[in-house]
């Protein structure tokens, strides 16, 4: 269960949220500039809210009043940003294994086979296609055994044809690995297909919140 109850002021822009997320996949839906990426950054610890709390399964990641602000490396939140940001000086294997902690249950083989990146493991990052980079980034985030997965428009830079091939991977991650996901998109079809719960954002505020059939017309 994820609690997002905070305000974040950045220059002129003000983001305000008060949500409790219980489903497997929550989609943040809205046009660009509505604050979706800012929310992900705040949850990951890359940006600091002005006040409020962020909690994950009862664990406080941020609490303004208690002066709690866990640094990103202590939050166990996996992040696949829009620009993917694979480490250019490492090959695929080293990228994927970067966040692996000792004694965790997830193995490289299982994650790699779910995302079908086994043949890519020894390749240099620069030689990957857009879709391959997405899958590698996903694998890298998963290998750190996160308690929560944040995906920022994973299919935005990918062509239509490829989209239909990657979405099943995301569904597999949702179904087989059981990690809760917050998923950002401005595409209705993705939201409808993937989400248990949708939060529609406009100008930094949640204007609607509920199951996809109700919220997305």
């Amino acid at each position: 269960m994820i609690v997002l109850d905070f305000t974040l002021q950045q220059g002129e822009f003000r983001l305000q949220l008060n949500e409790e997320l219980v489903g497997r996949v929550t989609v943040l839906f809205g046009p660009s500039g509505s604050g979706k990426t800012t929310i992900l950054d705040a949850v990951a610890g890359l940006r600091t809210p002005s006040n409020g709390t962020i909690a994950l399964n009862g664990r406080k990641l941020f609490d303004a009043r208690a002066r709690t602000d866990l640094p990103p490396h202590q939050r166990h939140v996996g992040y696949v940003p829009q620009d993917v940001a694979l480490f250019p000086h490492m090959n695929v294997r080293r990228n994927v294994l970067y966040g692996r902690r000792r004694g965790q249950k997830l193995s490289l083989d299982s994650v790699a086979s779910i995302l079908e990146i086994v043949p890519l493991l020894d390749r240099q990052v620069v030689r990957l296609s857009g879709g391959e980079k997405q899958r590698v980034a996903l694998a890298r985030a998963l290998m750190s055994a996160p308690d929560l997965l944040l995906l920022d428009e994973p299919l935005a830079a990918v062509d239509f044809d490829l989209r239909s091939r990657i979405l099943p991977y995301l569904e597999r991650v949702r179904d087989e690995l059981g990690v809760p996901i917050i998923y950002v998109t401005h595409d209705r079809d993705e939201a409808r297909r993937f989400a248990d719960h949708v939060i529609v954002l406009a100008n930094g505020v949640a204007v609607r919140s509920g199951p996809p059939q109700e919220v997305l017309t």
Partner: protein, 221 residues
Amino acid sequence: MDVSQITIFTIVTALAATTLMVPPGLLLAWLLARRRFPGRVLLETLVSMPLVLPPVATGLILLLLFSPRGPIGRVLATVGIDVVFTWRAVVLAMTVMGLPLFVRTVRAGLEQVDRRYEAMASTLGAPPLRVFFSITLPLALPALVAGAVLGFARAIGEFGATIMIAGSIPGVTRTLPVAIYSFAETGRDGDALLLVAISAGIAFAALWLSNYLSARAGLRA
């Protein structure tokens, strides 16, 4: 033959100085590139001082600090370490004069490293020190190498501060530049020119190595 002694002495002390520059230089470069803190501008200015002050002036300041009656020299003397007029003064002068160049170059390189990579590493569970050594530093490696080469070249050519704090003692503190000056002053022109040729050769080799390494780093990425 004293020409080879002078050459080897200069190279060894310059290498030592370059090595000494790296830990504080990296720290300073990282602080100035990544952190905001009170007194940051002051720190930046202090680090740049040896670049702007006449080298003799820097030498004088070092002399005041490290002479047996100076604040630092006094402490070192109690453990039997003499600095002024010894090889330690040579390494000290080289390090102080080369450090600002090293910091500048590395800082610029660190600022070029995309902070998104550092952010990603952080979310993957890497604490700040691991992020620095596994992500930031490798991505800034060409700048690190260039900075070290620049620091080395500056060390090899260092004269003004060296002559003030290390003196010109044949066989003990005569580096290539100091020897060239001494030989020219006393009419040993042939020897002076020989040393000039050697200095030029070392500088050439250092620059060649730096360019070669940069090209290789470029190809790898």
